[in-house]
Amino acid sequence: MTQGVGTALPKRTIGLDKLGVVIALILAAAWLLLPFADFKPNRILPGEPRSIFSALPPIYAAILAVGLGLSIFASLIRTSAIPRLLLGFIGVVALVLAIGVAGHYLTPEGDNLARIAPGAGFWVLVGAYALLAADSLTRLRLGPWPRLAILALVVVGICALLWSGAWDELSILKEYASRHEAFWREGQIHILLAFGSLIVACIVGIPLGIACYRSKRLRTIVLNVLNAVQTIPSIALFGLLIAPLGALAAAMPGLAAIGVSGIGVAPAMLALFLYSLLPLVANTVVGLLGVPEDANDAAMGMGMTDGQRLVAVELPLAFPVILTGIRIVLVQNIGIATIAALIGGGGFGVFVFQGIGQTAMDLVLLGAVPTVGLAFVSAVILDAFVEMTSPREAAND
């Protein structure tokens, strides 16, 4: 910011933090108005609300309540980023452990039908603390490596929590327990769909992008077509691919033998591939167009051929932009792959749509949570990579 564009705020040593006020209000409201856990007699019936004091053994409840009270107060005060980050982090960990305890505490002895689900209050409380932590992380402007380290820490923490059995009495994990084989199978398919289509799209899309960069006419045509494809809703595209693929499989038994058919993985894969092309081609073109002219001139002046220039100058300089395209594609594919379940393509979407069909929300969560997690982790990792490969000054966001 140039001087004087914004009038500097008066410096206050102690004062109210505006975001802190919002978070304190959310914490208080979630604590007092929303159920901490839901008790369901079985997996389909609606839950009965349980407050913190009825969901936890008295000592745990008291500790949690004191902690909540203190943190409501603490979040109000303007402090530096690190204490707020710690507060947010400790808050999330405490809640996550507490809900596990609630699961064990609320499940009646020997009752296999009852389900304990985290209530709205739990989710909002976790969200508020996560907001606090996210705000501090944003303000700290961490570099890519520290961000990856924090991500690794969180992932390891979640794995440890799941492995320890602390959450075993919670509804999502009960759904998991009765379907763990299907869970891993669909997980593999989901990853195969998202990553497989990405790899194929890279093999096709990046050369296509280079060709589009060289020829302006080709660029207009290809980008227009891909734009239109991108606009078609996924379920419609899946549907539209059923007929041609079915016809193809019927006409060529060889294709059918390797698994190509109107429904299933093949149309899903093809659709994801088509969706992936636009960000890849467009970003390759944009990246190459963004190569500074003097770098290109210098390379030509040194006697590089077109091919040498592409490999030695243009592609390396365009790489961060292409990587950004890959990031967009991956996050998008992980999301859209959920819909493949509707045409028998498998993936985590199977649980989401089964859950919707059976009105079993825990089953929906079993599909939705890993999808969101996968997309989130991919986004953070690829964002970090993009930043590492970008020139220095680009690192402000």
């Binding site: 809703p233 379920i235 595209l237 859950g355 969101v372």
Partner: protein
């Protein structure tokens, strides 16, 4: 009149004709049915479903535009500046959520029907509009904003007369993105019993009637492409108005 415009108008005319009198097109879809299956969706009119689909999308997107733009204005004023960095990362993180997940997670709170779809579309639709509005409002040419201040415009006058008009093309492209996502997500909304065109596709999938899948898919696809095109044209019009000049501006 350019070729592309003629093609688009032709496609639009075909779409309307198909929606009004689907039976006249039945012969085209008949080959995709198995024996005894109807070629045209028969548990509701295509018209009705299309209108309901568009209405849901339109309602959600308009509401999302109002709220997202309001929030973006708030966090770009001095008063809300403290929220700017966080809201930026939230919009960024939020977009890693698949729309289907948002839809599915709304159901436990609101039950089945149109309501959860509307809410999911609204929530998810906020993000691109919010992100683009912030980008538009924070990347104005500094000389222009300084000049506006220097001439004695109040904060509100600057917002209404300078900042919003200049950010309009970027905001509009957020609205376009949001509309396209909403059109797609509304299709999936039929899995939670919202009345949308997805109903036809789902019906086709469950009865393995490819004709249904085809007609549902085609209507949705054509709608999406046409709406996307229309909004892009609107955007180009506004960009042209701010940068090019009077030859294009309305009178």
């Amino acid at each position: 009149m350019s070729w592309s415009l003629i093609i688009r108008l032709l496609v639009l005319a075909l779409l309307i004709a198909f929606l009004v009198a689907p039976e006249s097109f039945a012969f085209l879809l008949q080959p995709f049915t198995k024996i005894g299956q109807p070629a045209i969706y028969d548990r509701g009119t295509l018209w009705g479903l299309t209108l309901s689909h568009l209405a849901i999308t339109f309602a959600a997107t308009s509401l999302a535009t109002l709220v997202a733009l309001g929030l973006a204005i708030l966090v770009t004023r001095p008063f809300g500046a403290e929220f700017l960095p966080l809201s930026r990362s939230l919009a960024n993180i939020g977009q890693t959520f698949p729309p289907v997940a948002v839809l599915a997670l709304t159901v436990p709170i609101l039950g089945f029907g149109t309501a959860p779809t509307l809410v999911a579309l609204f929530l998810y639709g906020l993000l691109p509009i919010f992100e683009n509005s912030i980008t538009g409002l924070t990347t104005l040419p500094p000389t222009v904003t300084v000049a506006a201040r220097g001439m004695g415009m109040t904060g509100l006058q600057r917002l209404v007369r300078v900042e919003l008009p200049l950010a309009l093309p970027v905001i509009l492209s957020g609205v376009r993105l949001s509309t396209v996502i909403s059109l797609a997500t509304a299709t999936i909304g039929s899995t939670v019993a919202a009345r949308t065109l997805g109903e036809i596709i789902i019906a086709g999938l469950t009865a393995s009637n490819t004709a249904f899948v085809m007609q549902g898919g085609l209507i949705v696809a054509v709608l999406a492409v046409l709406i996307y095109d229309g909004l892009s044209a609107l955007e180009r019009f506004f960009v042209a108005r701010t940068t090019k000049g009077s030859s294009l501006s309305p009178r």
